[in-house]
């Protein structure tokens, strides 16, 4: 193994060796030459050296600048040497991968399979070629791949799918060849290698076959990936014994939906194992918070479970960002440790964006306040699964106001009641404006769009209409649907819309004092937090839908 490593080292770094030898030789010759000079001439030569070095450095800088600007710092097909890291040097252990317990178990199994290739071969099993990880961004796919590399102790060659995409035709395929060549060399030297291709969708999306015989650049890159992975297969089939060069496992990661990845890549023999990495559960989020909070000073009385509950649908990267942002806010407020309010503000800032004051006329401000109060009351009193975390009439991003709902628990399905409540909440802004001012503004446009989408999906796709239309009518080509069916379906959508609006209008009429109160509070204070909102509802003897 040592001789193989040495041979690999020389093979990979022969240029450096040659340069080092040449430098040493030149150095010896320079010293020899200088020693043979008389001190006056020697001093002249030495005096000129800094200027010569400066000139050489200047020339080199010009060359590097031109090289970087023309070729992006590489040859057309070469990639950076930095893509290779020794597995042990990655240094991310299973214990560092927080949450994702089921995925971790799967990954551990994969590691065992990579390590015990001989055993797998002995019982006639097929060696694993690739693992494909799907999941939303920031969920730790790359982290998991690094952990696999650390645990296997193999070199880790990492590239992003976008690095294969270049202006020039054939560059992507060439880089793919280079990548696998490097991986084979490393596998020869270290007994195996892990190739990690992040954002695989950049090269792995469904190929397009043109009727005119042309092809996309991505196709050829993907074809090369397929060929390389098949090559690994062939290498394995031809040789009776386990050869180190064949011990290459390709790990791909993507945020794209599974159906966007070309089926040829997903078939067994290429990416054999598919891992779905989802957003962390409540327990996982608690663990993640515990992990990141361990790195900062925080108020120990903070209920981490509460933080986890406040961060539903947040990825580990989001949680890391929340902790980082909270630390910054605490520092700015000259606090010694991070308090709960800092986390609240951090979550709010990440979720809603930074506040920026727009000067509204009193009438506009009042209208926004009533609009948001409508959302607030409807969410609180009618929505079965969501709380109101905050209501605000301070401008953020492109909105003039916002009611920020917070799911009480993680739900992976949406009931008819939930969807109807969503529609009602969306329509409540409109209803509140109309009730108070007998007119409405264009702020309802976004709400209507969302409400229409939900109502339309309920009727056309989810079989939730009162008339009993079942099936997904969007799956049928529009030309094959009769106009009468379309009309009926649209009428059902309209019915849902109108019945929801009616219910909301009745609610707001009934709760008019509450509506006026919230509008007044918002105009005066601009923002209301959960506790303040809850106190006002309790003042009026109102309880949350679920709590009732």
């Amino acid at each position: 193994m040592i001789s193989r490593k040495l041979k690999l080292f020389i093979k990979v770094y022969w240029v450096r060796f040659a340069i080092l030898l040449a430098i040493l030789l030149l150095l010896v010759l320079a010293i020899w030459g200088m020693m043979s000079l008389e001190s006056f001439y020697r001093n002249i030569t030495l005096a000129q050296l800094p200027m010569q070095i400066l000139l050489v450095a200047f020339n080199a800088a010009i060359f590097v600048f031109l090289y970087m600007s023309v070729l992006g710092g590489r040859g057309f097909t070469k990639f950076s040497k930095k893509i290779t890291v020794r597995g042990e040097l990655v240094n991310i252990k299973w214990s560092d991968v927080i949450g994702m317990d089921s995925i971790k178990e799967e990954s551990k199994e994969v590691v065992e399979l990579i390590k015990d290739r001989v055993r797998v071969k002995n019982i006639g099993g097929k060696i694993m070629r690739g693992i494909l990880m799907f999941g939303p961004p920031g969920c730790g796919k790359t982290y998991l791949a690094k952990a696999i590399a650390t645990e296997t102790g193999l070199p880790f060659v990492s590239m992003s799918g976008s690095e294969f995409v270049e202006l020039f035709v054939g560059v992507g395929a060439s880089r793919m060849r280079q990548l696998f060549k490097r991986a084979r060399e490393l596998a020869y030297g270290y007994g195996g290698c892990i190739v990690f291709i992040d954002e695989l969708d950049a090269v792995g999306r469904n190929r397009v076959f043109s009727a005119y015989g042309g092809t996309e650049e991505t196709n050829s890159t993907q074809n090369q990936l397929l060929a390389e992975m098949d090559g690994l297969q062939e290498m394995e089939d031809k040789s009776g014994e386990a050869r180190p060069e064949q011990n290459i496992v390709v790990i791909g990661a993507t945020n794209a939906p599974e159906e966007r990845i070309d089926p040829a890549l997903r078939r067994p023999g290429r990416f054999d194992r598919i891992l779905y990495i989802d957003l962390p559960s409540l327990q996982d989020r608690e663990k993640i918070f515990e992990y990141y909070l361990g790195k900062v000073k925080y108020d120990k009385s903070i209920d981490i479970g509460r933080l986890a509950r406040k961060s539903v649908h947040k990825s580990p990267a989001d949680i890391a960002n929340v902790v980082k942002e909270a630390a910054l806010i605490a520092t700015r407020n000259r606090r010694e440790e991070i308090k709960f309010v800092d986390f609240s503000e951090a979550i709010e800032r990440i979720e809603l964006g930074l506040k920026h004051k727009r000067i509204l006329t009193p009438r506009e401000k009042e209208m926004v306040a009533y609009h948001e109060s409508g959302h607030l009351i409807t969410t609180y009193l009618l929505h079965p699964t969501e709380d109101v975390f905050k209501a605000s009439i301070v401008s953020r991003r492109h909105t003039l106001g916002v009611v920020w709902p917070q799911p009480r628990e993680e739900l992976y399905t949406q009931s008819k009641e939930k969807l109807l409540a969503d529609v009602k909440v969306y329509l409540s802004g409109y209803a509140a404006e109309k009730l108070k001012f007998n007119t409405t503004a264009d702020g309802v446009w976004g709400d209507f769009k969302q409400a229409t989408t939900i109502a339309h999906a309920m009727v056309w796709m989810l079989g939730m209409s009162e008339a009993g239309f079942l099936g997904d009518y969007t799956a049928i080509p529009q030309s094959q649907l009769s106009d009468s069916i379309k009309e009926k379906l649209n009428n059902e959508t309209d019915k849902i819309f109108k019945s929801c609006l009616k219910e909301v209008e009745e609610l707001l009429k009934k709760e008019r004092p509450l509506l006026d109160r919230f509008a007044k509070e918002l105009i005066e204070r601009e923002e209301l937090d959960y506790d303040e909102i809850d106190a006002i509802f309790k003042e009026y003897g109102k309880m949350h839908t679920n709590a009732a």
């Binding site: 080092l20 430098i23 150095l27 320079a30 010293i31 200088m34 020693m35 008389e38 001190s39 006056f40 001439y41 020697r42 001093n43 002249i44 030495l46 050296l49």
Partner: protein
């Protein structure tokens, strides 16, 4: 890894600079031996070396210094150049404080005739660093072919002893006591019968001599001056008294018969202008400041033109007027 490699290279460079850069090739204690050794080893020449103050003098005996036309032979010239080169190499690469080196070449057949060459070490450095041109460099070297003054003195004393039939055993004692002293000027330097007659050359006297030489040369090279004047002699001295220091140039240039129609005063002004211009060029070229004025003496009537140091720059150009020049009498 990369940082270590870079540090290694930088360290090597500094080692190279520090250890190779320091230390002279010819330490102060071995200057004489080094010159003798190089001349012998590299050129097969036997030389003698003596030092006084910051001046190194090398004596080079030759078998054929001049030919029958009294010109320096090619062989002698090559050998003298070899010794000049050796002297330059050693004086440039030593830690000894050497300002001047002097080469005295001697024809063993006619020992009374000698060539004396004096060079300023800074001029050699500046030439090698391209700070001065080759033409300027050659003008800055003092080359003099002359009869050895010491030989003339000693021959005269010997004649006296012979004519007066004095006991010869006292001859050497008289010589040592009265006639074998350190020379007072550059013109008296030389080598005679196994003895060096040398002195520590000062920059001021070197410049005085060099300026005089250049004045003579100017009267040969400048068309107007060579057409209208006959240069008889030019002598430069640096006078340092308690309260004043000045350069004195005794110039004797007589108008020739076909001179342009100019008054005697106008012609004398031309001579003075040329001498002062050359003096300015030389003294300015060496940034020499230790003088109060320059005196150009017309030795035919003991009248002189005196120009203060601060007015000397008025004589930069050929057409300079005698602004600031004062006519004085000298004795």
């Amino acid at each position: 890894m990369r940082r270590k490699f870079f540090l290694l290279l930088v360290t090597d460079y500094w080692l190279l600079v520090t250890f190779i850069g320091c230390g002279p090739s010819y330490p102060e204690t071995r200057v004489k031996e080094s010159i003798i050794k190089i001349c012998k080893k590299e050129y097969g020449l036997d030389v003698k070396v003596a030092t006084v103050g910051k001046t190194i003098t090398i004596y080079l005996p030759l078998t054929q210094l001049i030919d029958f036309t009294f010109a320096i032979t090619k062989e002698a010239s090559e050998k003298i150049n070899d010794v000049i080169l050796t002297a330059a190499r050693v004086t440039l690469s030593t830690d000894a404080k050497v300002d001047f080196y002097c080469i005295i070449a001697h024809d063993v057949r006619i020992p009374e005739i000698q060539i004396v060459i004096v060079k300023y070490v800074d001029d050699v450095k500046r030439f090698l660093l391209n700070d001065i041109s080759r033409g300027e460099y050659s003008k800055r070297m003092l080359v003099d072919i002359r009869l050895s003054p010491q030989a003339q003195k000693e021959r005269a004393i010997k004649d006296v002893f012979s004519k007066m039939k004095l006991d010869e055993k006292w001859e050497d004692q008289v010589m040592n006591e009265f006639f074998r002293a350190e020379p007072t000027g550059l013109g008296e330097m030389g080598y005679w019968e196994g003895r060096f007659y040398i002195k520590d050359v000062t920059l001021a006297e070197f410049l005085a001599e060099q300026t005089a030489n250049r004045i003579k040369m100017e009267f040969k090279e400048d068309r107007f001056l060579s057409d209208n004047f006959l240069m008889k002699s030019a002598k430069g001295t640096y006078v340092s008294k308690e309260d004043e220091r000045y350069f004195r140039f005794d110039v004797s240039a007589a108008p020739n018969g076909e001179a342009v129609e100019m008054s005697a005063q106008e012609l004398q002004n031309k001579v003075n202008q040329a001498a002062l211009r050359i003096a300015y060029q030389v003294l300015h070229g060496y940034r020499f400041e230790d003088f109060n004025y320059v005196l150009v003496v017309d030795i035919t009537d003991d009248r002189a033109t005196k120009v203060l140091k601060e007015d000397l720059k008025n004589f930069r150009s050929k057409n300079a007027k005698l602004d600031g020049a004062m006519e004085v009498e000298v004795y």
